[in-house]
């Protein structure tokens, strides 16, 4: 019996909404746009936040990254044609980190040199990364085949290398790279392993400044060849030398482009970062380094994402509110239009409650229909955004529930007043109404 009444109530609701199709559609549009903008905006915000967090997470939340930065205030003698600048992180820095901070897990110094690599008659520009065997502790790269650099390689300054997949496709084509020799500069290096590609881009790369001999951070996406740091020192010299300048030449000498320090737990990150900074301040006269803490960046990204979502969500919620006011407006008009019907129903035995239910169910029908269509539209928008702009989006179940919940709440809230007004009209007055 209850279901019969519900069915009847909704059937009647649909009937009278259908009678005013245009009006109902326009009213529902308010809710549709409100709900879909809540979902779409949250999806765009969530997508941006996930992307940033993934990028940062790839840097490793236990890592502290110290990068060489070209000092901006160089007191270089302008009179001379040729200048020579020496700056950046040094091997001594790396040793100092290791020896004076006991809590440090690993210290990974690396040196980057942009070099052409050659295999048979193929040539490709690569980034040669001189590093240590425990580089894999701080990097998310995966070893796909063979092995990574070893301590023995380090110790004997072996001419071996590990290449990433990009180098494999660009240089070797159909040959099996393992065991082949790659020529870099004037020496040959035997390939011992293959790794996945590592995106060296850091979210802070725009503030990192120019790092000599690390063109990959500048833009062009090139493959990476890993070589023992000792071998690099042996064959390319103690420092990377970059010659630049429009007239004549500026020579820049840099020992290490990067030192990554990994700590044991998240709680130690900030403390050790301070120790590192103290050490660096003491031994570096110039401001030629930058400390990046992925954990902090992650926190910032999360905070930012939260604010972003709140702002986007609020704008969307306001549009839902406007939709709700539209619904209330229409329902008030409906109630006064149907005053006589209300009087008739009251005379025929309808209680106030019955009238409330009747009008509330109409409002709910409007808002829930709007809510469902809004969810459909709102789920489609992020898809198109991603498709046409490559901006990542992510629809969360929570946002769907939220949007639907808000639309139902809007329906009930803005439907109650018109419904109560209808129920509290005097039956005789209503019957007399023209």
């Amino acid at each position: 019996m209850l279901t019969f009444r519900l069915k009847r109530t909704f059937k009647l609701g649909i009937k009278s909404l259908w009678m005013h199709r245009l009006r109902s559609t326009l009213t529902t549009l308010g809710i549709i746009f409100g709900v879909s903008s809540v979902i779409a905006m949250l999806a765009i915000g969530e997508g941006a936040s996930r992307q940033a967090q993934e990028q940062i997470a790839r840097l490793g939340s236990l890592n502290i990254i110290v990068k060489t930065v070209k000092p901006s205030e160089d007191q270089r003698p302008t009179t001379q044609e040729q200048t020579m600048v020496e700056y950046g992180l040094t091997y001594t820095d790396a040793e100092r980190f290791q020896s004076s901070i006991p809590d440090v897990r690993v210290v990974v110094p690396s040196r980057r040199i942009s070099q052409q690599a050659r295999y048979r008659n193929r040539k490709v520009v690569t980034e040669v990364l001189g590093t240590v065997p425990w580089f894999t502790d701080i990097s998310p790269i995966r070893l796909l085949r063979g092995r990574f650099l070893s301590s023995v390689d380090m110790h004997h300054k072996q001419g071996v290398c590990v290449v990433d997949e990009q180098v494999v496709t660009e240089l070797f084509a159909f040959d099996d790279p393992i065991g082949q020799d790659v020529k870099i500069a004037s020496d040959y290096y035997r390939v011992v392993g293959i790794t996945s590609v590592h995106d060296h881009q850091t979210p802070g790369s725009n503030i990192t400044g120019s790092v000599p001999a690390a063109p990959s951070s500048g833009g062009a996406n090139v493959g990476t060849i890993y070589i023992p740091l000792t071998t690099v020192k042996d064959r390319f010299g103690e420092t990377s030398i970059q010659i630049s300048g429009s007239s004549g030449a500026n020579i820049e000498r840099v020992e290490l482009q990067e030192i990554v320090v990994k700590v044991g737990s998240v709680d130690e990150v900030l403390r050790i970062r301070r120790v590192l900074e103290t050490l660096l301040e003491r031994f570096h006269k110039k401001n030629d380094y930058q400390v990046i803490v992925p954990l902090e960046l992650l926190q910032q990204a999360k905070d930012f994402a939260r604010i972003f979502s709140i702002v986007l969500g609020s704008i969307a919620a306001i549009s839902l509110l406007v939709g709700g006011i539209g619904i209330m407006n229409i329902m008030l008009a409906t109630v006064s239009e149907r005053t006589r019907e209300i009087g008739i129903r009251r005379a025929l035995g309808a209680k106030k409650r019955d009238i409330v239910i009747q009008f509330l169910s109409e409002t709910l029908l409007l808002t829930l229909t709007g809510g469902i269509l809004g969810i459909v539209l709102g789920s489609a928008i992020p898809f198109f955004v991603t498709y046409f702009s490559d901006h990542p989006t992510a629809i969360t179940g929570g946002s769907l529930v939220l949007a639907f919940g808000i639309s139902a709440t809007v329906g009930i809230t803005f439907g109650l007043y018109p419904a109560y007004r209808a129920a509290n009209m005097d039956p005789i007055e209503s019957l007399r109404h023209e």
């Binding site: 019969f4 009444r5 009937k15 129903r345 005379a347 025929l348 035995g349 309808a350 106030k352 005789i428």
Partner: protein, 250 residues
């Protein structure tokens, strides 16, 4: 479910003194007054009404326009409460009942027929007839079957799917009568039921009211027309809110 069960118990509470036997008082009004306060001045629409109507009676209420006929009829139908005095319907003091209880009495025991038909335009004939049953908690099946039967009874068996706008005035009023009968009420209240009809349709409607009276319903009709009043056993003449005179016939 719970709501309607509660409703039923209220009906029983309200009903327990309702008299069903023919010939006993079904409603009693004593010194009943109804006033409106449209401005600062009290507008007395009904003054010291003393009225007893017995079960099964056929009563006509007559009087000039504005004399309070509709107000009195609405009062009888529990659409309104008296300003002063008492109105007992089957022993229940109507002025003591709350809005829900009045709704229950209207739904269960009163059948209204209005001058302007008051059908709901969006609903077809069957659905209009079903309205009172819907509020009394009939099942879908019961309600449909009874509505169809009533439509047949008033001669609209072939028009059940029609909307009110597709019916003539006389047909509309027959739907209204069928609707008034849906809950098998004790009292039929008709406010100028033929006022908007041509004489032929009006005669039809009066025929149905006569038949209902013969079947034992208490029928109360408001009218201007002496010919219509002639069908009743008693004519109450209202004048400016007073019962000026009562006329017994038969």
């Amino acid at each position: 479910m719970a709501g309607s069960d509660k409703g039923k118990t209220v009906i029983q509470q309200v009903d327990k003194n309702l008299v069903l036997n023919s010939g006993t008082p079904i409603l009693v009004m004593q010194q009943l007054c109804k006033s409106y306060f449209p401005g600062a001045v009290e507008l007395k629409v009904l003054r010291d009404i003393e009225l007893t109507i017995t079960s099964g009676e056929y009563v006509a209420i007559m009087g000039p326009s504005g004399s309070g006929k509709s107000t009195l009829l609405n009062m009888i139908g529990c659409l309104d409460r008296p300003t002063r005095g008492t109105y007992k319907l089957g022993g229940n003091n109507v002025s003591m009942l709350d809005d829900d209880q009045l709704s229950l009495i209207r739904g269960a025991h009163i059948g209204f027929v209005f001058q302007s038909f008051n059908l709901i335009d969006q609903l077809n004939v069957i659905e209009n007839i079903e309205i009172p049953m819907y509020y009394q908690g009939f099942s879908e099946h019961e309600s449909f079957a009874r509505a169809a039967e009533l439509a047949e009874m008033v001669g609209l068996g072939d028009r059940v799917k029609h909307r009110p706008s597709e019916l003539s005035g006389g047909q509309k009023q027959r739907v209204a009568i069928a609707r008034a009968l849906a809950n098998d009420p004790l009292i039929i209240l008709a406010d100028e039921p033929t006022g908007n009809l041509d004489s032929e349709s009006g005669a039809d409607i009066l025929g149905i009211l006569d038949r209902l009276h013969r079947e034992g319903k208490t029928v109360i009709v408001v009218t201007h027309d002496d010919n219509i009043a002639a069908h009743a056993h008693r004519i109450i003449h209202l004048f400016d809110g007073w019962i000026k005179r009562q006329e017994y016939r038969k």
